[in-house]
Amino acid sequence: MLILGIVLLCSFSVFADINHYYKIDLLYNQGNLSYQNLAVQPSPQQLQNPEGRYIAEVVSYDNKILNLTFFVIPLTVFYDRADPETGELNDGGVITLQRLQTDLYVPYYANAKEINIYDQELIKKLSIDVSSYAQATKEQKASPAFPEAETAPSAAKEETPELPIIEPKIKPKTKILLGVLIGIVMILTLVALLLILKRRIK
């Protein structure tokens, strides 16, 4: 009973911290890669992509490689065709897809700047800016390599609410106006003084 109890207790593991992953909605189109959506989401388990020869490389602000994820873009589909009357397989083959949408999960890093995706020939196919998801630690903030105010000039849609447009620009016209008025008053005073002087000389 004691052993059984110990075994049961051991089977309940205390879960470590929640993992976070970049979820990239990849689009393959005739050899070209792009992405439609990017988000960071939590997961209580390790998320793994089916392994393949594509590589997702997570790069930090100081250009260090933080992680390499190998994944596949499943372009090949095997199919069988059965005779509807007899149920026997009478045909089959392979289809190679030209366009495909797939989800890619890459481990999240608080100091990641970008994710680069390479194909099987190690040719860079896509670069994704993830800097807006970076969280600066005290050490990183002190480092010039971490541009705190850097924004994400990404062309793809990131899952963020729409920003209300406001343009609160105030031009400091006051000082200019005051200067002009004082100038006019001074010129008038000078003209008046000159006129008085001229009359007195006469």
Binding site: F12, T160, P161, T174, L178, V185, T189, R199
Partner: protein, 248 residues
């Protein structure tokens, strides 16, 4: 001649005084106009940031409730949980281990504290527009009600552009969810189950679920363990947990 000269001096002095009064008046009007402009801009800026943060609370809140419900009311699973299925045991060792309301609120708030950042994304769109934004730690307080969940978020933010600065602290959003009702249904079911721990009391679960416009799915996962899914028909949520029965 002297009189004429004196008159001229008085006229000139008058002109100068009038010009100065005009200048002062014009200057004051400009100041007032600028003050009005600043007063108009400050709330506009704070409103847009407030809306931005609150829409993120809404989005992250909806995600939090989905995540937590799918993991039996937990963001971080308790010790009494199944490792592969990532689900807590609600009935184990003939005892109920249903998540308490306080624990449920704590778990949802943890999700928000951890994940709001990924929606806010360092206020990237605002920084792009030229604002300097300083943010501090997020702290969330959750109130689970029968038909909704209230997210009260304390998130100190200071927004600056040019000489204009604004501080924001509290944000709040209500998210439609019956996660509280789901927990109540399961709690009542577990109370009945504890009375007779030898077998699964299906009616103890199904009847209160139907009364609350919910349906249930029961799947065996092992000889002694079943997975129970409570599905809300009104707002599509799935509340999932495990029950383990002693097989003698």
């Amino acid at each position: 001649m002297k009189r004429q000269g004196q008159v001229t001096i008085f006229v000139i002095a008058g002109i100068i005084i009038l010009t100065l009064i005009g200048a002062i008046l014009a200057f004051r009007t400009t100041i007032i106009k600028e003050e009005i402009k600043q007063e108009e801009v400050a709330p506009l800026l704070s409103t847009s940031i407030q809306e931005y943060v609150e829409s993120c609370i809404q989005k992250s809140g909806e995600e939090a409730l989905l995540f937590v419900a799918q993991h039996g009311g937990y963001y971080q699973l308790p010790e009494l949980a199944e490792q592969e299925l990532l689900l807590p045991y609600y009935f184990y060792g003939n005892k109920s281990h249903v998540v308490s309301r306080e624990e449920l609120e704590k778990q949802i708030s943890r999700y928000m504290d951890d994940n709001l950042f990924f929606c806010i994304r360092n206020f990237a769109p605002f920084r792009k527009a030229g604002y300097e934004i300083k943010q501090e730690e997020v702290s969330t307080s959750i109130t689970v009600l029968p038909e909704r969940v209230v997210f009260d978020v304390t998130f100190p933010i200071t927004v600056t552009q040019d000489a204009l600065s604004k501080q924001l602290l509290f944000f709040s959003r209500n998210v439609q969810s019956r996660i509280g009702t789901m927990r109540e249904v399961v709690t009542d079911f577990m109370a009945e189950q504890e009375k007779d721990a030898t077998a699964l009391c299906v009616s103890c679960l199904v009847n209160p679920a139907i009364e609350a416009d919910m349906r249930t799915e029961i799947t065996p996962v092992r000889n002694d363990t079943i997975k129970i899914i409570l599905i809300d028909e009104k707002i599509p949520y799935e509340f999932i947990f495990l029950n383990q029965y002693y097989v003698g």
